[in-house]
Amino acid sequence: MKIRHKVLIVDDEPHIRKLIQVALSRADYATVEAENAREALEMLQNERPDISLLDLGLPDRDGLELVPLFKQQSDTTLIIVSARDATDQKVTALDLGADDYLTKPFDTEELLARVRVALRNRMTKDGGMALVRAGDVEIDLLARTVLKAGKEVHLTPKEYAVLVQLAKFPGRVITHEQIMAHVWPNEREHHVEYLRVLVRTLRQKLETDPQRPRIIGNELGIGYRLRFNVEGETEEFAPSDA
């Protein structure tokens, strides 16, 4: 018998909770719900959910305060669900340890995709995936090679470093700051423009049509996301709805 993954839904809007619950049930996830921060923390202890979907606008507490608490008190994978114009909040939440985010209003398919990605990353967290496929690009993290349509692509060390950061958690958004901290660990001040230049050269080497990037997706004002293949298919979801 398959073990159903448990998802905690934290939102003060009952209709949203209901909607998420319906979508997740369809995909055979178990769900628990909380309508405020107090309940959420209780559920976190009692139900030990694999995934938590957290709305930042809670009535009793600032959602951002919950992010570190969630990470400290459990090993749940935390996905932020928030309104579209809260870019800063999203970045803060991600830098505080949240694993991904989803913008309202969302397509339930997108929601399920995020949950799938989160679960995959959860399962491979310790060992990590050795081989990541995105489109016709193959990234071998052990051999440190990158193939495009079967041919090896030569990357500079910095380009490779960026790609590794994205490939470590394929499908998940990685903030600019998180990438830059690894690529330029010795720089005290980070320059997004350097990262942009690197991503552009990376895309020129990896993307079939660099004008319409499909492999390295941009998240407006937040970071990048590697769109990878799951069972031979590329996950297609919005770069952003922000």
């Binding site: 319906v22 209003p105 339930t108 350097y194 020129q204 952003s240 922000a242």
Partner: protein, 889 residues
């Protein structure tokens, strides 16, 4: 009279008169609102409790609760109502009071003017009658209503009250000063505890300043002290107690037909008060008086009436000359001091007829003479013509000329042996030229004439006579005169120019002073007051300033203070306003008005009119004063413009505040709409998966549209709230375009989106979210208006100093001429099939967001293939041109 033991009969009589009369007590205040009425009622109540028969004759409560409360327990004599032009006015019923015969009656506001049809025109006359009937009266009055202080108060408060009480009333009263500190009064004013008549509110800002109140308070206290002094003196004199008082001082004021004579009268009154001396005003009628104009006569009568009102004995004496008449009257009146105005006549006039002052000094021995400055109509810049014409100069000039000629004659006599007779004549040219150049034409001619006479007399044979026996010598004389004329003409012209330069310098100084004064004004009210006061000072005229209002021209400022204008003057002011032309006396329109009105033109049209008039009702302006007036008006207009600009800025701030509130409301409404919409849309997606149907698709599509609309409203609210919070970061336009194309894929179904951006296009510093919104709105617009099946092109180009990002469609394009309007809020272009569903906000948002980031937008039509082309222009400053070092990447 110098005998200290002698009782002063006048004082005795005053005392005796007091015996049978009622006593008057006046509660004197420095300003409205100090609590006089309150004090009077409280005092009255105490008397009533002490068993005295007290009634209230009239008390104005002005609806104030505290005052009304004090009336409780008092017996109030009902007012008599008087019909006045359809209004029923309640006046004190003096007959009822006389019939009731109380011991004490309380009568508020002593300075009050009774309605037409009352027994006396003034309330103080009612009070006098009550006093005569033996009834005691308590009354109230403010210091500015005291006749002799009226113009002093007006001079610094700029408020002239027309209702005055003669000083003689105060002199017979016991005075109690009702005093509160100015700060407290201002506080009371702010709290609305001071009753202000409707028509007076405009002047109040100025009147109730701390400095004014302090001065008024001081005046009130001084006046009260003076009354006490006077009463004490009366007592002393009547009972012949004291040995020493300033006995015998008598003051005489000489008045003429000029308006400034009123100032003399008031000065004399103050002097008389200070010396506790009786005083008299006298006008000396001479031959000259026959030539007085009607206005001058009227002015003289007014001045006499004023003197009489202020307590002077008045007299008109006929005499051959002013000095003669004065000398006579001085003796009769036994005056010890005389007040006269400074003569305004020319020295020439005085030379011929003698100066009044000089003669007085000479002819009357033991009299102190106070000479006060008079009105000088000759003040102010003079015209060139006047200056050339005024060639008489000083007598000393002629003395010098004569001396020089005498010197030259002496020199000639010495040289007669050496030089030719004809050359002697040349010597005389020196003094003639000098006199003409230095002293003017007349002195020059005088010298020429004198020289020729001297030459003739001393040198031309036969010497010692004025006979000329050689015709050649006649020429010499004529030459001397000719030289005098020519030289003096030149010199006069030079001097006239110098004078002109001096006068224009004076004028400039006046203008500079004027503009400085105007700059110092903080409010429009103050500015108007300053304009009036300064123009009045500079041009020696009375001034009023009127602004247009719904009920015609409204008097807003005046100097000296003025409350009313006649109908004809209002008409002239209105005409000047409407026609932007001067009107009234001295202009070509409505000349019957005593006032001349000049429009105040500002950049926004005619703001109002400035009225000018002379005290003597003569022509308000001399023709040579017009340029100065024009300059002053220009300065005033500039000051008004500046003031208006400041006020507009204030308005703009208020509008912004209103917009902010509106945006806050809009944003909150939008949020409330969005929350359920969010749920609906997400639920729709789920519903589509589970029960796909066309109906669900329809609902989904409409919900999406609604969502977009609400999102746009929200964005517009953010734009209009101003100060969009920007989060600028280095942005790759490829990312921006790719994201926008992805998000608008549904609106672009049926269009192929071609991204045509140069591969090495630099990064730019923008807010990626705002740029994203700009792009999705432009793409959405292209999807809507582009013909089905046609491609939509996103083009990025590098210009020398900018980057352009354009969205091109193939469709009907933008109607010509509407290119600049398409970005306006709620503009959907009519007259073409561009009227398609949409909010009309999209492009406005593009513009708002772009401009917030420092970008600009443009809309044009692309000729081939035809269609609209919307372009976002990213200026050079926002382009990142410096690429990182290779070792960094």
């Amino acid at each position: 009279m110098n005998d200290p033991d002698r009782r002063d009969p006048e004082a005795f009589l005053r005392q005796a008169a007091q015996e049978g009369r009622g006593r008057l007590k006046i509660f004197l205040g420095a300003a409205p609102g100090v609590g006089k009425t309150y004090e009077m009622l409280t005092d009255g109540m105490q008397r009533r409790k002490a068993g005295i028969d007290v009634v209230v004759g009239v008390v104005e409560t002005h609806g104030r609760k505290e005052t009304e409360a004090l009336l409780v327990g008092h017996e109030i004599i009902p007012r008599r109502s008087i019909d006045h032009m359809g209004h029923r006015l309640g006046e004190m019923d003096i007959d009822a009071i006389l019939e009731r015969r109380p011991a004490l009656v309380l009568v508020d506001e002593l300075a009050h003017t009774n309605a037409t049809g009352s027994r006396h025109p003034k309330r103080y006359q009612d009070v006098e009658e009550l006093l005569d009937a033996g009834i005691d009266v308590y009354s109230t009055v403010n210091i500015q209503h005291v006749e002799s202080l009226n113009d002093v108060v007006a001079s610094f408060t700029r408020v002239r009250v027309r209702e005055t009480v003669p000083d003689s009333i105060l002199e017979m009263a016991e005075i109690e000063v009702v005093d509160i500190p100015p700060d407290e009064l201002i506080e009371r004013l702010k709290d609305g505890k001071v009753y202000i008549p409707q028509e007076a509110t405009r002047a109040l800002g100025h009147f109730f300043s701390k400095s004014n109140l302090t001065a008024l308070r001081e005046m009130a206290l001084r006046r009260a002290a003076q009354a006490v002094d006077a009463q004490m003196l009366d007592y002393v004199r009547a009972h012949a107690l004291a040995g020493s008082f300033a006995a015998g001082e008598r003051i005489l004021v000489a008045i003429s037909e000029v308006p400034s004579a009123q100032g003399l009268v008031r000065a004399a009154k103050r002097l008389a008060d200070a010396l506790k001396a009786p005083w008299a005003a006298v006008h000396i009628e001479t031959q000259r008086s026959l030539a007085f104009t009607a206005q001058e006569r009227e002015q003289l009568a007014d001045t006499m009436a004023l003197a009489s009102r202020l307590g002077a004995t008045t007299a008109t004496i006929s005499a051959p000359s002013v000095v003669e008449g004065l000398r006579h009257y001085l003796g009769d009146a036994r005056a010890t001091q005389i007040v006269i105005g400074k003569s305004t006549r020319s020295w020439w006039f005085e030379l011929r007829h003698g100066s009044v002052v000089d003669k007085l000094v000479r002819e009357v021995g033991d009299v102190a003479i106070h000479v006060l400055p008079g009105d000088d109509p000759g003040r102010g810049p003079r015209s060139l013509a006047q200056m050339v014409g005024q060639g008489w100069g000083q007598p000393i000039d002629y003395v010098w000329s004569t001396l020089m000629i005498m010197g030259m004659t002496a020199l000639g006599r010495l040289l007669i042996e050496i030089i030719d007779l004809g050359n002697i004549a040349l010597l005389y040219l020196i003094p003639v030229m000098f006199a003409a150049a230095s002293f003017g034409l007349r002195a020059g001619l005088f010298s020429g004439l004198l020289s020729s006479l001297a030459y003739n007399f001393f040198f031309l044979p036969p010497t010692g006579t004025l006979t000329v026996n050689n015709p050649e010598n006649v020429i010499s004389i004529l030459v001397l005169l000719g030289v005098a004329i020519v030289t003096s003409q030149f010199a006069a012209r030079v001097r006239a120019q110098a004078d002109l330069a001096q006068s224009s310098a004076r004028q400039n100084a006046a203008l500079a002073g004027f503009s400085r004064q105007l700059t110092a004004s903080a409010s429009q009210e103050e500015l108007m007051q300053t304009i009036c006061a300064e123009v009045s000072r500079l041009l020696s005229v009375r001034t009023v300033l009127l602004l247009p209002s719904r009920d015609g021209p409204e008097l807003r400022a005046a100097f000296p203070p003025e409350d009313r204008l006649e109908q004809i003057e209002r008409a002239a002011a209105q005409w000047a306003m409407d026609n932007e032309q001067p009107a009234g006396r001295g202009s070509s329109t409505l000349t019957a008005s005593d006032w001349l009105f000049h429009p105040l033109r500002t950049t926004r049209g005619v703001l109002g009119v400035l009225g000018l008039a002379r005290e003597d009702a003569g022509a308000p302006l001399r023709s040579d004063q017009i340029p100065l007036l024009m300059s002053l008006l220009d300065q005033a207009s500039i000051a008004f413009d500046r003031m208006a600009l400041e006020e507009e800025m204030l308005d703009a701030r208020q509008i912004r505040e209103r917009d902010r509130l509106r945006s806050a409301l809009l944003s909150s409404v939008s949020h409330d709409l969005r929350t359920p919409l969010t749920t609906i849309i997400s639920a729709m997606h789920e519903l589509k998966r589970q029960h796909p149907s066309e109906l669900v698709d329809t609902v989904d599509a409409e919900a999406q549209r609604l969502n977009r609309f609400v999102a746009n409203l929200l964005d517009m609210a953010r734009v209009e709230a101003g100060a969009l919070p920007l989060k600028v970061e280095p942005t790759d336009l490829f990312d921006a375009v790719a994201g926008a194309v992805h998000d608008t894929r549904k609106s672009l179904i049926g269009h192929e989106v071609k991204v045509d951006i140069l591969p090495d296009i630099p990064l730019v510093r923008v807010d990626p979210t705002l740029l994203h919104h700009c792009l999705i709105n432009l793409l959405d617009n292209a999807g809507r208006y582009g013909d089905p099946g046609t491609p939509v092109i996103v083009r990025g180009r590098r210009l020398p100093d900018a980057i352009t990002l354009s969205v091109l469609d193939e469709g009907p394009g933008i109607p010509s001429g509407a290119e600049s309007r398409v970005f306006d809020t709620f503009t959907r272009l009519e007259g073409s099939d561009r009227v398609k569903h949409g909010t009309g906000l999209g492009l406005a948002i593009v513009k708002g967001f772009a401009e917030a980031m420092g970008l600009s937008v443009s809309a044009t039509n692309n000729p081939d293939p035809f269609g609209a082309c919307f372009t976002i222009i990213i200026p050079h400053a926002l382009i990142i041109t410096e690429l990182p070092h290779e070792d960094i990447i």
